[in-house]
Homo-oligomer: 268 residues x 4
């Protein structure tokens, strides 16, 4: 298909409008309205009273979002597919359009993920999310260590306690879930450890070291994030601080030049 | 009404007294005494023994506070209505004077808010509250992100679990309250998640990501506050640190002047 | 009583010995042995087997500690009563000697406080405790704010919920204890708030704001301590950092002297 | 036994291979495969379906690890026994080879500790663990203080509550476990303190101070770690910051040399 100059112009106009401030504000408004409608859908009273309207509005909003996606892609596909947030929007809309049926019908509830588009549309929220995502890599290896600890204790728990306490330690996934609960310290003792201790008197050798190890690693995760943020802040401080010494070096260099000139004059 | 010079003088005197150290101490004393009386009112023994006295004292204190407000406003309304803490006091006193009746009578308990005036009267407490309030804006966008997460999970929870667990997920407000409970990690697993998992085996896909996401955002809230405080502290440190380089610059400038003078002398 | 030179010498010798390294080590050993004996006393098996020996040893240790106190006071009362840790030791020993009888007999259990003397004897532990105590003043006003919040919510809770839930909110002390439990987030929702909400549907206006306010103030307490520590650390860093600029200033001053000398020579 | 040049060469080759990148990757692969096999062993379905294969594979992996140890020791025992991580590996493999029988058979579950070798093989994980271990000494004395607090409250709790609540405070180990649970704030009030308070109305004098003291000490543990990390970071920052002043010093020294040269010339 040949792109005639006129078509190119139309596409540029669309691009400018839909990514521009007016377009952004319209989309933001639609997302907020859609979020409210999706909320109303959970209220039996609202559904009895105006169920048709709510379903209709939801379909209308979805249609508008599909249109938005089509326009955004059509106006400049290269920009669209290079922008992480645009792809994020596309996935969310695609998830909403997908015809869930049979026992996937419960997944229709994922439509609410559309509210997440608030993040991709509001620049400030985008900054917050991006800064959180940036802090994730510093967690990498500490998380790997936590995973190793979880796996070891899950296998240990399943082997030793599995047959007596199938609900908590019946399989590795069940043990992993129970360990996650213990990590959050929720009912770890009265709910889990004391009943287990009644059967296995040495089980405190399982629970207490796990809490120590996992809390300590989690603490290191927190510190990694804090140090990461602080070093960013302190780097910015450093940059402003570097200026005065540089000025001094420049001043001294100027001084050296003067002295060398003086030397030459004396030599004459 | 013409403000005669004498009236203006009286007003200035009142102003000086009621905002001065003696006035402040009297008001502080009244607030503390009133707080004790309001506490005594909750004790059936004290009420049986001296109920009339307690009620009378409380009315007397309220009368004195109303008088304080009237004097403060009358002496200089412009000062009064520009001072946030004065308006805060006025609202608290107004809430106490309001004649609650019928099923609003329970709101009479809000009289205890008068204890809050301790904060507006004690300068040091005011500083603490002001510094806490100042740290709030840094929470703005992270809180907005938390609100988005809460709303999405509340709608999801209400849609999926609402009919089977109406107490916890029956409506969006009920779900929001349950999610707040889960955020505080209180009985999230033994109390909420395990019963839900017995009905919905995949519900861990709801609870575990929610805990991860919300904890992570809350962690960022904490870090935002800590970094905010630390950067204030480090700014103060920077200011004192800039001085030594300046001294160096001054020393070098003096040196340059000397060399230029020397150069001139040599040129002669 | 005249203090003869010989007595003064004896007192100095005793002082030197009991505060010296050998004396300290002996006392440390006695405290550790006494701690073990006090622990054994809680074991019915140990008491049946060697009850007389344990009681005897405990009395012997107490006698030795009383002797230590007497010697320390006698050797130099002025040093003793000016040293906070010595007075701390004296109070602990006095509490152990006091003849508890009747329904005070339970207080005999306080003898275990003698283990605390480990802190006053081990120099490193003393440093840790002193640095913790030094960080307390920074908590002052934030704690006062927390106290105001606690008092307001305790009176409010007692007034509104007191009659229906006497165990939790029956009196101000009961409410304060319940609020402390809520502050630690222990069973606040499933244990306390949900039962209360069943009777008072608007009670979430009591619990959720209390958790927000108290958590926020507690967070500020933590930050106050962290910032306090960090500013101490950063002060030390500052001191070492000031040195290099000073060296530079000295170097520049030396340079200036040279140039002035040069100038004089040229002037000749 | 004489080490002929050929044998020495073979040993060097083996050493190079088994500690080299290829050897490391093979071992890493074996550990991961072994971890999966150990996980499968906990699944009754997998054991019914392929129990013989799983047991066989596990034995094979263990054999390979024993071979790895033998080769590593044989190729250069001095390197092996000086490397903490190599000794760590040896202990883990030794624990797996040990023939647990009778009522030690449960300890066979410790084979899963082999997953820990992931840490000793992956360099990045090793760095994380080493940095965590390095931060431990800063906890030393604060932990000693916590131990003193735990011991005092354990003896106190056992003496006072032991006979009425034998499950929680029946012996010093039981009290220590209960205090650890209270330290984590798990069910401390609804689960432990309120039942105890029903029997001992003054027991809040035990629980509330314990929570205050232990939380405060734990907070100091956290701060010790954070300050420790931050001072490491700030030390690195200091080092980079020292450079510019050094440049200045060098520049000034060059300047001084020039001026001294100038002086000599003028003196001529």
């Amino acid at each position: 298909m040949l792109v005639t100059p006129t078509l190119a112009k139309v596409r540029a106009k669309i691009h400018q409008f839909i990514y521009g401030p007016v377009g952004e504000r319209i989309i933001l408004g639609l997302i907020i309205l859609n979020s409210i409608v999706l909320g109303l859908e959970t209220s039996p009273a609202a559904v009895t009273w105006a169920g048709g309207l709510i379903t209709g509005l939801d379909k209308l909003f979805l249609g508008l979002f599909v249109l938005e996606m089509v326009l955004k892609i059509a106006s400049d596909p290269r920009v669209f597919f290079r922008n992480g947030w645009d792809i994020f929007d596309l996935i969310i809309i695609a998830l909403s359009v997908f015809p869930y049926q049979g026992h996937l019908s419960m997944l229709r509830a994922l439509r609410i993920a559309r509210v997440l588009r608030l993040v991709s549309v509001a620049p400030r929220l985008r900054v917050v999310v991006e800064s959180i995502i940036k802090s994730l890599p510093s967690l990498g290896w500490v998380s790997a260590l936590l995973a190793v600890i979880f796996y070891i204790f899950a296998v240990l728990g399943t082997t030793v306690f599995g047959q007596v306490f199938p609900d908590w330690f019946g399989s590795i996934p069940a043990s992993l879930y129970t360990l996650f609960q213990i990590l959050t310290l929720e009912s770890w003792s009265m709910g889990i450890a004391r009943p287990v201790l009644a059967e296995f008197p040495h089980a405190y050798l399982f629970f207490v070291p796990f809490i120590f190890l996992s809390s300590f690693v989690i603490l290191n995760v927190f510190i990694a994030i804090i140090v990461n943020y602080l070093s960013q802040v302190s780097n910015q401080v450093e940059k402003t601080k570097d200026q005065p010494p540089n000025e001094i070096v420049v001043a001294i260099e100027r001084l050296t030049t003067e002295i060398l000139a003086l030397k030459k004059q004396v030599e004459k």
